[in-house]
Symmetry: C2
Subunit: 352 residues, 2 copies
């Protein structure tokens, strides 16, 4: 793709996650970096863009507002605290910028619906930044669980994502601060497990969500670890466990009537260019390896830029698929939180 | 060990599980088969003993009573419906026979306590027939989760055991009949998952047990699939899922603060002479293989016969370790059932 057709990204903040995403954009043939906004010094931003191989002509903005006014920015990546998502995503949408927004997409689904509305009114593409969903392995996994001959009818899913945060994280990270990312481990690690459970259930919402006993909160009431049960019609259920307090574990086990799926590194594959999963079906256990030319974050950027390109270059309408998955995930995150806050009562999702 | 010192087993019934156990006894240097009781024809029993390589002098009894009177029987293996355990195990104990009893050990813990009392009064050894607990791999697994340096403090365990029973099983097997094995998938597949969860928690009982939504019962009210949550002190919890309705899956995932354990075939290892498990600790994922000279059911027989031999040949007292694990498992099975029967209310175990 010629440079002229590349989708031009504006990035907010000079942080580690932007470092990772800028590498992904550089690896994506249909995307480029055109600008970055910093709220600290221009010197620091210059050094950041240089050390991360940003294009030499990357513009540096000294405020988010200024970046959103930049006509050379097609799309914005937002690695900012969840509490700021509503304000900045809706402002970006009103400026016609396409939106790649980190998870959790909002503090709750009603905030997210305002973002959705702003995207729809302004015709901009939305995607949340859950990278593993774009790994080629994920498509293979989905193919397996959707294959009635091999997997049958789904019965049970268990997914967990935990990592052992250090003391500094547990004291100072934005993910444990009520003023910033109020959903804690549930909005962070839990988001992935919930999306894995939705994926295994073909993105069908459960009927009820029940938080499990044993939830750990910090002094400010932020979730550090919790579990939940999701219940579809009779005999189809899923459990998730997410935690900042346990050793790195990233599991999906999905059991169908005919087959079983197991993934051990679903969030961040052990290797960047190869990802494995195990199936058992008809009494036979098979290890599958999926080669990936590009890291999964680049696969995500390519898919997002492709959708933006359809709008920018071909006059297409925004694609609602990824947005609908973000909304369902946020709905389930909210329901787990609501159940935690209401003494583990089940939350009925009908009509939401 | 010379033949004179071998523990002499009496077996009840000519069934597939007795076929498997008789092979295990034949492989065990400290055990032998001395008798079998059949409630069908002597001819059938003769043919069964011959085709399964029983010792030529194996006595055939035409009733359980008669086998229990046999002075050449030291120990009895009971693969009979759970509803018959109380009667026959207590009768065996009163005759001084040591007891290898299939799981679930009783219909409830109060029945089991009567068996325990009969064993204690008559000085007989008790063990339940959960074979995987005796696999050398299980000892290695236990070593890992007990190693604070590698595994840290336990945080979460998930265990599931499911198999897809066919229509004939779902209509006619004793495990789905209220008159026979009233605990269904919970007492059968669930027994293993609960023992796995106890093992990972160093056999410490949880404080509360809560059945999860989504339980499936048959028309007679027998559990065909269910899940449960076990809760220790704050931040330590476990979930289990057991089912007759899902593809064969036999998982343990245990997460500590420093390490993670994964086992994929914990109930019946894929291979008889080698069993694997995976650990991750300090950022490193390791696959462990444990070689076993004998199948796990022979390891169980050897351990049981060793304990019986201590009593018979050295005047030792019965060892209470396995009995205490059986009792804890039955207690948790009962608690899950109680929670299912009381609209998923948590069951508090304090004092039980």
């Amino acid at each position: 793709m010629s440079g002229d057709n590349q989708i031009r990204f504006g990035l907010l903040t000079c942080t580690n996650i932007v470092r990772k995403l800028s590498r992904a954009i550089n690896l994506s043939p249909n995307a480029t970096i055109s600008a970055i906004a910093t709220t600290s010094s221009i010197e620091e931003a210059k050094s950041f863009t240089k050390s991360n191989n940003f294009p030499p002509n990357t513009k540096i903005h000294i405020s988010y507002e200024s970046l959103l006014e930049d006509p050379d920015v097609d799309a914005v990546y937002f690695p900012i605290p969840t509490r700021l998502h509503l304000e900045w995503a809706t402002r970006a949408a009103r400026k016609g910028k396409h939106i790649l927004l980190d998870k959790p997409v909002a503090l709750n689904v009603s905030e997210f619906d305002q973002i959705v509305e702003a995207c729809e009114v302004n015709g901009v593409q939305f995607m949340d930044g859950t990278q593993w969903m774009h790994n080629p392995r994920t498509y293979k996994i989905k193919e397996f669980v959707n294959d009635f001959e091999s997997f049958g009818q789904i019965k049970s899913v268990h997914s967990c994502f935990s990592f052992a945060a250090n003391d500094d994280f547990l004291k100072h990270d934005i993910r444990v601060k009520p003023g910033l990312d109020g959903l804690g481990a549930l909005g962070d690690a839990g988001w992935y497990t919930i999306q894995a459970i939705l994926l295994a259930n073909d993105f069908k919402l459960p009927k009820t969500v029940t938080a499990l006993p044993g939830c750990v909160l910090n002094d400010a009431g932020i979730v550090l670890s919790c579990g939940a049960l999701f219940d579809w019609e009779e005999g189809i259920s899923a459990t998730m466990y997410c935690s900042f307090l346990g050793n790195l574990t990233m599991e999906i086990t999905a059991i169908g009537t005919k087959g079983t799926l197991r993934v051990h590194d679903f969030v961040i594959p052990y290797r960047e260019t190869e990802a494995a999963f195990t199936t058992s079906a008809r009494g036979c256990v098979s290890e599958h390896k999926v080669m990936t030319e590009l890291p999964q974050e680049a696969c995500m950027v390519i898919e997002f830029a492709r959708l933006v390109g359809e709008i920018k270059n071909r006059g297409a309408k925004p694609d609602g698929f990824w947005l609908s998955i973000s909304r369902k995930t946020q709905l389930l995150v909210d329901a787990v939180k609501e159940s935690i806050d209401s003494n583990l009562e089940p939350v009925f999702l009908s009509g939401r």
